[in-house]
């Protein structure tokens, strides 16, 4: 029982469900039908009213307006392309729902339904190339005219030819493009099109409009007779609304398709100018790029040569460093050579002078007078050789920069006393007076003491050497920033022609008494070099037969070391 009652319940439930489902389905389908209406639209090429763009998309004034209405009415538009006649036939038959751009005529009203509010007003107009004066129908006489085949325009032109007795050659074409092209190419003198097309394209073909206007018409959408009143009502409703609003889709479509190309119609001179400007810009860019390229190349070249230069500098620096090192090594070698020479030359002299001295002292035993005389010659020669060696070493050291000066402060008086003590025996031996005049009791000076003493000793020794009678005087004057040491003698003097060469090495004046005045011939040269090194000067004045004055002037402060 329970089971059966359940089954009955189930049957009841299934019945209710079926009814509900049907109701929902009906509601939904009704809703769907009410909301989406598929409209099959037939279009033919009639730029700019309606046409298929190269991309395959329908465009034009009618299409824009229709799309705006469809969007509001939720119509689904399906487009079918064909010739005007073919589309007309298919709409009349009911195969398609709607076609745009149809002028009302009694014949067409039999085949199709039209709405009430016109979409566009249009008329036909004659266009011609520039320079051809066509201001009236009569001006067409003797010209050829390109006309759309089987169009109303063809009929009209033909009626004019008949009516006015004109000689006009009609060239039949299939569309307005061909008509305009025919004029542009010189095949026809004039062309006929609706003003919408003409206005949009005449400049593109280099044509101008004429005053010959005819066949004004108002254009509508048309539908299959008695079948699509809803479409026509909706179109009317929206057209009326849109026409009242300045920025509506209706006016946007007109603006877009009627005046579009006009905006692009630039004067030839402006086009030319723009072309020139663009060309100039392109050239500038190309030139700029070329320049940049050249700059890059030059930059690379510069960088390369820079690197080469740097490499060269590095190499040269290395070479110089090497040379410097070599020079330093050479200097050190020279220094070592001088030291070795000094040692090696003095060592045998040490023996010669030493043993000659021992023999002369008669330490090993008695020697006779002849032996003493000869040993004395050996001793003197050895001493002379030693002097030469010492002078040569001095000059070598000065010239190679090996001679270092040791500056110190000391009293010049002490140095003069020291030198005088050394030379006093020689002066006394010759019976010469040795005078010393120093302006200050304690004259402190700053230079290389040993070298200054060497110079003073040399000058006084020379003076004594070349003076037989009279005196040798050492006169010291102190001035503000320098001091002067003069060595005066009453000796043989120096001839003017010899004065210039006096300080050159190995120059000893030819007195004819050379053997009498033995010397190395290097002493004064060394004096000059040493004094110059210490920033001083040495000069000589002499009167032959009367005597000489050697003057050394030294700065108090170290000014120059050569």
């Amino acid at each position: 029982m329970i089971f059966r009652s359940n089954r009955q319940k189930d049957d009841q439930l299934t019945g209710w469900l079926k009814i509900w489902c049907m109701l929902i389905f009906l509601f939904l389908s009704g809703f769907l039908l009410a909301q989406t209406r598929t409209v099959k639209v037939g279009i033919s090429q009639n730029d700019p009213k309606m046409f298929i763009e190269p991309s395959g998309k329908p465009a034009g004034i009618f299409i824009d307006i229709l799309e705006a209405i469809a969007a509001k009415e939720d119509w689904k538009l399906e487009y079918y392309e064909g010739s005007f006649d073919a589309i007309y036939y298919r709409v009349a038959k009911g195969d398609l729902d709607l076609m745009p751009d149809v002028a009302i005529s009694p014949t067409r009203e039999k085949d199709l339904d039209f709405h009430k509010e016109p979409v566009l007003s249009s008329w036909s107009q004659i266009y011609t190339r520039k320079g051809l004066e066509i201001n009236s129908i009569l001006d067409l006489d003797g010209h050829s005219i390109a006309v759309l085949e089987k169009s109303i325009q063809q009929n009209v032109i033909e009626s004019w030819i008949k009516g006015f007795g004109l000689k006009v050659k009609i060239i039949k074409v299939h569309n307005f493009d061909a008509a305009f092209a025919a004029v542009a190419n010189g095949i026809a003198d004039c062309a006929v099109s609706n003003y919408l097309y003409g206005r949009r394209h005449c400049k593109q073909y280099g044509l101008v409009d004429t005053g010959v206007v005819f066949e004004p018409a108002t254009l509508y959408f048309a539908t299959t007779k008695g079948k699509n009143q809803d479409l026509l009502d909706a179109i009317d409703k929206h057209l009326l609304t849109m026409k009242k609003v300045p920025n509506s889709a209706y006016y946007a479509a007109l603006k877009r398709w009627v005046s579009k190309d006009e905006g692009f119609m630039l004067p030839a001179w402006l086009k030319f100018t723009i072309l020139i400007v663009i060309l100039a810009l392109v050239l500038t860019v190309i030139y700029g790029l070329t320049l940049k390229h050249q700059v890059n190349i030059r930059t690379l070249e510069l960088r390369k040569s820079n690197q080469e230069m740097e490499q060269r500098i590095i190499e040269r620096t290395a070479e110089l460093e090497k040379a410097m090192l070599k020079a330093k090594e050479a200097d050190m070698l020279k220094s070592a050579f001088l030291a070795t020479m000094s040692h090696e030359l003095r060592t045998p002299l040490n023996s010669i002078i030493g043993f000659t001295g021992i023999l002369l002292q008669e330490l090993p035993g008695h020697i006779n007078e002849e032996q003493r005389k000869q040993l004395t010659i050996v001793q003197n020669s050895a001493h002379h050789l030693l002097d030469l060696i010492n002078d040569i070493l001095d000059i070598s050291k000065i010239e190679s920069g090996q001679l270092d000066l040791h500056y110190e402060s000391f009293f010049l008086n002490d140095s003069i006393d020291k030198v005088v003590k050394i030379v006093m025996p020689q002066a006394e031996k010759k019976g010469l007076e040795l005078k010393v005049e120093i302006s200050q009791s304690e004259l402190e000076v700053y230079c290389d003491k040993r070298r200054l003493e060497q110079v003073i000793l040399n000058l006084i020794s020379n003076a004594i050497k070349f003076t037989e009678t009279g005196y040798v005087a050492i006169i010291v004057h102190s001035e503000e920033d320098k001091y002067q040491i003069q060595v005066q003698d009453t000796g043989i003097g120096i001839a003017p022609e010899d004065l210039e060469q006096l300080f050159l090495p190995f120059h000893q004046i030819d007195t004819g008494l050379t053997r009498q005045y033995e010397g190395t011939g290097l002493g004064l040269n060394i004096c000059l070099k040493l004094i110059n090194m210490m920033g001083g000067t040495i000069t000589v004045d002499s009167i032959p037969g009367k005597g000489s004055i050697f003057t050394v002037i030294m700065p108090y402060k170290k000014e120059f070391t050569g």
Binding site: H343, I353, G354, L363, L393, K397, Q402
Partner: protein, 125 residues
């Protein structure tokens, strides 16, 4: 008692010259040729004076003077550097190394011994 002099000198003629002069003036003389020999000998005999040649083969006179000065046995022995070096600075370098005095070659045989005695007197003072 005779005073003892150590001569460090590699040149035999110079050695002979100095030895002859000193021995003729009643000095006792010991002679060696190299620096290390001199250091060793000085430590052993402790002479009254060392005559030190600077230009020696191997270890030079400066180094010998330095080592003698570092050794407690020899550090007070008077040293006279005898050198044929005429370069400036040799004198200073010898004194820096520890020599008490400096004598330049070639020696003057007439004044050699007198010069030495003068130097010795100054050192002892």
């Amino acid at each position: 008692m005779k005073e003892l002099v150590l001569i460090i000198e590699d040149n035999p003629e110079n050695m002979y010259l100095m030895r002859y002069l000193l021995e003729n003036h009643s000095y006792e003389v010991e002679g060696v040729i190299t620096g290390p020999e001199g250091i060793e000998k000085a430590e052993r005999i402790v002479p009254d004076l060392i005559l030190l040649d600077i230009q020696l083969p191997g270890m030079d006179g400066y180094e010998v003077a330095r080592q003698l000065r570092q050794n407690p046995v020899t550090k007070t022995i008077p040293i006279i550097a005898v050198t044929s070096y005429a370069m400036i600075g040799d004198r200073e370098q010898a004194l820096e190394a520890g020599a008490n005095a400096y004598m330049e070659k070639p020696i003057n045989p007439d004044t050699f011994v007198a010069d030495i005695e003068k130097i010795m007197e100054n050192i002892i003072k």
